[in-house]
Point group: C2
Chain length 326, copies 2
């Protein structure tokens, strides 16, 4: 029987509530990792769409390597929310992005799920504090924010609300790691969490450019896949920028490009680059570099770009390092 | 002799003025593509640093495939700007990001370079209109903005200023393509061009988060490399987001996430998602999709993520699709 004490490593039964692109992606991920999955979605054609999504994802998941016993047969689509979570050891909610709807759904899940079972929401940006207000036992409600598709993109951002028990947050982070995800556990709530705030800033700037006729959708996409995107697949924007400072690293980069923070290069106003921020960024880069010298990071970046170009067919196909201008 | 009529395909001699991280990266790229390169930089230890940069890049360039006859021996570091460009068939300026300095340098390059030779600036964001004001023949001055490192990242953004001859802009775009770059030619000046506006928005949001203690440098980097960055290496943010709309594509995504543009997910205010912008984004995605169905794009994205995870050592190393939580 399920008990509040089921260890993250011992979980076998997962419930996925909401089976759209994200919820269905979670279903595919948990199935590939060998879990028994019960899914519920109110849409009339939900099961058909869900199984089509899982079937479409399965070849990729098979190539990545299925867990022992992983099978699409372990998916059960049930007619009610209550049946989905009745014997669940973990619940992932992936309903549409509507605060009232999520608030209501999380309350119903809390009422129906076994005591102690952690319930996570895939919300793209609502703070759990705002979603857990009507639940009877808000302590077990956490945010577990994935990226599309959840069955391939490792990142899950985990953060609790004001009423969330720290143990529930820690349990969720550990469970996701056991389930093969790469977890960032936030100690405070920020709308949009981390990655969505970053990609939302980029997305909004892109929409401004399209609205003003400054760039086309294709130019925006090409500018990323032929440019910064090649680096971001394996080295984040902070360390990447540090390498623009040459042998001087981030400190030299900030000395050189700090003034451009005043330039109208985006509609987003920059913070004041005072000594405290300057020092935080430089010190943070040292932590992120984790002992790697600038020269070592440059070699790592160079090899990474070559590997990514080759892996995505843009090196061998065109030769001479010329990218496929798609 | 050099003449205004040297075709982009016929260029053999390139001058690189400014030999820091970007200028030096250009030198490495042009050498790898088989050009004769003359470089000049006023710094006392410039040649030593430049040759060290080229030596560090050479293994990567060799792995990517050198052009016939490519050799580090084709690099000549000269003591004056005039000697660097005296017989150049193309000039790439990569001086520090200082408007007055670039204005003065471009004027001197224009005075010293053979008639008709196109002179490109690596500026990260200054409009050429502002840089060409003091040059005798501003018509041949264009922006050719690369990404770090120029010898590996394919993208070059090309745009002219108000006084730039359209033929010079077209010549530069064609030359960069011949030289193995992936070119986006802009028909209007926008500060920061395209990719820098996008990554600057992300960078500024990251700085705000660090300044507010909302995330560490490492969390910001990890949130990208374990999340959106894996997709951006081969599929841009627009098409990627279109896939969040499921079988409904971008139209459904905008219907679903449009409201979040009002959410405080980033400090960057979003434009009004009116019908015109909505239609532009949806139509632009159709163009970018270039006939690929949503199902085909999903399969392409999935394979791309797997290829990138494997290429960057995060699939085989950890198995079961678990990413290396770096």
């Amino acid at each position: 029987m399920t008990s509040p004490l089921t260890a993250p490593e011992g979980v076998r039964r997962v419930a996925c509530v909401g089976a759209g692109v994200i919820g269905g992606g979670w279903v595919a991920h948990f199935l590939a990792r060998g879990y028994d999955v019960k899914a519920w979605d109110p849409a009339p054609d939900a099961e058909q769409k869900l199984r089509r999504l899982v079937d479409a994802a399965w070849p990729a998941l098979t190539e990545m390597g299925l867990a022992d016993g992983a099978s699409r047969d372990r998916l059960t689509v049930v007619p009610t929310l209550e049946e989905a979570v009745a014997d669940a050891e973990f619940v992932q909610e992936s309903a549409p992005e509507d605060l009232d709807l999520k608030r209501d759904l999380l309350s119903r899940l809390d009422a129906a799920a076994p005591a102690g079972v952690v319930i996570a929401s895939s919300t793209s940006g609502y703070p759990m504090t705002d979603m857990q207000t009507t639940a009877a036992t808000p302590a077990r409600l956490v945010v577990g924010h994935p990226f599309n598709p959840p069955y391939l993109i490792p990142l899950v951002e985990v953060v609790g609300g004001e009423q969330t028990d720290a143990d529930a947050t820690a349990w969720a982070s550990r469970f996701y790691e056991v389930a093969g995800k790469s977890v960032i556990t936030m100690d405070r709530e920020v709308p949009g969490f981390i990655a969505n705030r970053l990609q939302e800033a980029l997305w909004r700037e892109a929409l401004h450019m399209i609205a003003n006729g400054e760039a086309t959708v294709k130019e925006i996409d090409d500018s990323i896949t032929e440019g910064p995107g090649l680096r971001w697949a394996f080295m984040g924007p902070m360390l990447t920028f540090a390498l623009a400072g040459g042998e001087g690293g981030m400190a030299h980069m900030l000395d050189h490009f700090g003034p451009s923070l005043k330039s109208p290069w985006t509609r987003l106003e920059a913070p004041e680059l005072d000594k405290q921020l300057y020092d935080s960024v430089v010190a943070g880069c040292d932590v992120a570099a984790d002992g790697r010298s600038i020269a070592e990071l440059v070699a790592e970046r160079d090899q990474g770009v070559i590997d990514v170009l080759r892996a995505t067919g843009r090196l061998n196909k065109n030769g001479n390092g010329k990218a496929d201008p798609r």
